[in-house]
């Protein structure tokens, strides 16, 4: 990865941090640089469809090359809200606290997202908008894309951080080869 690209990624992540209000969470997303950066569709070498069920992914293992840009087509085929989030286990753990807040405030209700609640001002200009570029949060039946450039080797998982889901095993491995 070129230094310039890295800088862009870092800026993108920090913007998203502010928007999401993760500043209070001890820098969970601060490790983001390890997992990669948002990619451009034009650079995507291939497309991988990831189906989300209650509460697991298909597939549960994906193979990528360091530096590869992948277009993920993420489809929620379950009956509950699920997330597809690329990050390290530490990042996921930090994000789980935010997701718990979303559930406690009614932004995630079983099979529904309460968008009004997600946009509500939580103070300090923070909201529960779930708009990090490394993730999508989908209602049943919805589909969205994540284009991601993997930086290199590391302990990277894709995970659903809706409370209880990651703990119950809704994660997948990213293997570098």
């Amino acid at each position: 990865m070129s230094p310039a690209k890295f800088a862009v990624a870092a800026v993108a992540m920090s913007i998203s941090l502010t928007a999401f209000g993760a500043g209070t969470h001890g820098g969970g997303h601060g490790h983001s640089a390890k997992s990669g950066e948002p990619g451009k569709a034009s650079e995507a070498s291939r497309s991988i469809t990831v189906e989300m069920y209650d509460n697991y992914y298909e597939p549960e293992i994906i193979e990528v090359k360091p530096g590869e840009t992948v277009r993920f087509v993420v489809q929620n085929k379950g009956q509950l809200v699920h997330e597809f989030n690329i990050g390290t286990p530490d990042m996921h753990e930090a994000h789980q606290k935010e997701m718990r807040m979303m559930v406690e405030h009614g932004a995630i209700q079983g099979g529904k997202l309460n968008h009004d609640m997600m946009e509500m001002d939580m103070g300090n200009g923070q909201s529960m908008n779930h708009d990090d570029p490394n993730s999508v949060l989908l209602e049943p039946g919805d589909s969205q894309e994540v284009i991601w450039t993997f930086s290199g080797k590391g302990n990277i998982e894709f995970a659903c951080n809706v409370p209880g889901h990651y703990q119950a095993g809704m994660y997948g491995e990213v293997n570098f080869n």
Binding site: D54, N55, Y56, L80, G110, G164, Q167, A168, G169, M170
Partner: protein
């Protein structure tokens, strides 16, 4: 030769039914050693608890049960959906199994999850006649784990169950060591005023209940997988693994509050049915309930599984560790919960004018206890810390709180992972008042004990709504055989599906049942001595597909002639 050929052909004709498994169980007298006392008991395959039976969804099981006792026995497959003749309740499903006899149970496995089995004859179950059942699903499960353990709890009492029952009948508070003392009376009096205290005591007396009746059987040793706290059952793990713990409460009388200090638990199943995962620090398991949790110990250290009885009179303890012999600290017992006036909110004939309503009691302003040294805060007429749970009376003294101040599981958190039935309006409501007279140790439903009661009649194909009104001061785990109990937690189609529903004192709980199993079934409080005292009903399901019962016995002659 010809017979073999026919049998072979038959085998080819029936692959759609799935594979068949044969299992053998013997019912034996066993010795149970708690490390504190040794006791004669009943077990399966010469052990108590008996074996873990592993079935697969879709399997046709045959289970040969040989009775080596000198009395009748039976096995009930707790939570399994099966033809009523296979349900194992003497006098309702079948006559029972005579001494020396082998009875073969045969039924299809139509579900998956964690269940258990136990004798439904006399007091054999509290004497140790139980084991566990694990059913693997046909498809994948909605969660993942690297290893699993059954964690089967019981409350082993040094007295024989017959003796316990006799003692309870003669002196209902025989095993209640936590009765309020004269000293507490005076501390109550100094705090609440003499007259109020006398009035409160009179009210408790009038209800024929004692205020410390959270548990009517104390003095037991809590056991996990047949091991006492001293004997310390240990499950091994490698750090980072996800472990599925299948908790089963096979106690005669004891509810346990379970925690594993240092580990968050993700509840993924209740009573064998998958629930939307909930992260908790602690949960309460009612008698006969099961909860499956997933834990992920990341550190190379031991963790204590601590199961404290609801009344804090005893505990069970086990360990998760990377190696045999490692231990973690064992917490002390917390202060016992005490029932409050709110817990008797459901009592009929209460003089609310004199006492103040349950809610008023609950809202009583807190007092400054700082200058009352030695005061037992748990005798306060409100739950400490104002904890609330919609499944406990408002102001109840029984509302559980997590030892670490974190999340304690509530029934309200249980949501079905995948609804089993379409939601629809129930055809009718059946009210079941849970009633009893503590002073005479009689327990009943709608004031009538089993031997004097008419059966509850349901119609095949209907959906009924049961309304439980607990008019006693004790928690009753109500267990309907043969059909699911859809617990109303206010989640509509996501209401969880259970086989045992706990009804707390002073509360009303609703559950619905799709009447989809013909025949006759048992419906009772699963506290051994309450069931024996008469808190029990027979349920008769009228109508149903006429072919269901005849078909299975006719099939062989249709297909194979003389086979």
């Amino acid at each position: 030769m010809k017979k073999t050929l026919v049998a072979g052909t038959l085998g080819l004709l029936l692959p759609a039914i799935g594979f068949a498994g044969e299992y053998n169980l013997t019912v034996d007298r066993v010795e149970i050693d708690t490390g504190e006392f040794v006791k004669q008991g009943v077990g399966y395959n010469r052990k108590s608890p008996g074996p873990v039976l592993r079935f697969k969804e879709g399997e046709e099981v045959s289970i040969n049960v040989t009775n080596n006792l000198d009395e009748m026995t039976s096995i009930h497959w707790h939570g399994l959906i099966l033809p009523f003749e296979q349900d194992g309740v003497p006098g309702i499903s079948f006559p029972g199994i005579k001494p020396g006899e082998t009875f073969t149970y045969k039924f299809p496995i139509t579900q998956s999850g964690t269940y258990w089995f136990h004798s439904h004859s006399g007091f054999q179950e509290p004497e140790g006649a139980f084991g566990s059942i694990i059913i693997e699903p046909e498809g994948r499960e909605p969660f993942r784990y690297d290893r699993e353990y059954v964690v089967q709890l019981t409350d082993k009492h040094p007295h024989s169950s017959d003796r316990v029952m006799r003692n309870l009948k003669v002196t209902p508070d025989y095993y209640n060591r936590k009765q309020q003392t004269l000293g507490e009376f005076f501390s109550d009096a100094s705090e609440n005023g003499f007259l109020n205290t006398v009035k409160a005591r009179l009210a408790w007396g009038g209800m024929r209940m004692m205020q410390a009746d959270v548990e009517d059987l104390q003095g037991f040793t809590g056991m996990i997988n047949g091991k006492s706290p001293k004997q310390n059952w240990t499950g091994l793990f490698e750090p980072g693994e996800r472990i599925r713990l299948r908790f089963i409460n096979s106690s005669a009388m004891t509810y346990f509050d379970i925690r594993i200090p240092g580990l968050e638990m993700t509840v993924v199943q209740a009573d064998g049915n998958n629930v939307q995962p909930v992260n908790v620090d602690e949960f309460r398991i009612g008698v006969a309930e099961t909860y499956d949790v997933i834990v992920r110990p990341k550190d190379e250290q031991a963790y204590t599984i601590f199961a404290e009885s609801m009344g804090r009179s005893g505990y069970a303890r086990a360990t998760l560790a990377p190696e045999e012999g490692m231990e973690a600290p064992v917490p002390g017992l917390r202060e016992p919960a005490r029932l409050t006036m709110a817990d008797m909110g459901g009592m009929p004939g209460m003089e609310h004018g004199d006492m103040g309503s349950a809610n008023e009691m609950a809202e009583m302003p807190d007092m400054d206890h700082s200058n009352m040294k030695g005061m037992d805060h748990s005798t306060m007429m409100m739950s400490e810390g104002g904890a609330s749970d919609p499944f406990y009376a408002k102001g109840s003294g029984l509302v559980p709180t997590a030892a670490n101040g974190g999340k304690f599981l509530s029934y309200a958190d249980l949501k079905a992972q995948k609804p089993l039935y379409e939601e629809r309006e129930p055809a009718r409501e059946i009210e079941l008042r849970l009633t009893g007279n503590m002073e005479r140790y009689t327990w009943s439903i709608n004031g009538v004990k089993y031997e004097d009661a008419d059966p509850i009649r349901l119609k095949y194909g209907e959906r009924v709504r049961f309304k439980f009104v607990n008019e006693t001061m004790m928690t009753h785990p109500m267990h309907l055989h043969g059909m699911w109990s859809i617990l109303d937690v206010g989640a509509g189609q996501w209401n969880p599906i259970k086989h045992t529903v706990s009804v707390q004192p002073g509360t009303t709980v609703y559950m619905e049942t799709e009447v989809d199993a013909p025949g006759q079934w048992a419906f009772h409080c699963h506290l051994t001595y309450h069931m024996a005292a008469g808190m029990f009903r027979k349920v008769i399901v009228e109508g149903g597909p006429e072919s269901t019962q005849a078909a299975s016995s006719e099939q062989p002659s249709e297909v194979g002639g003389d086979v």
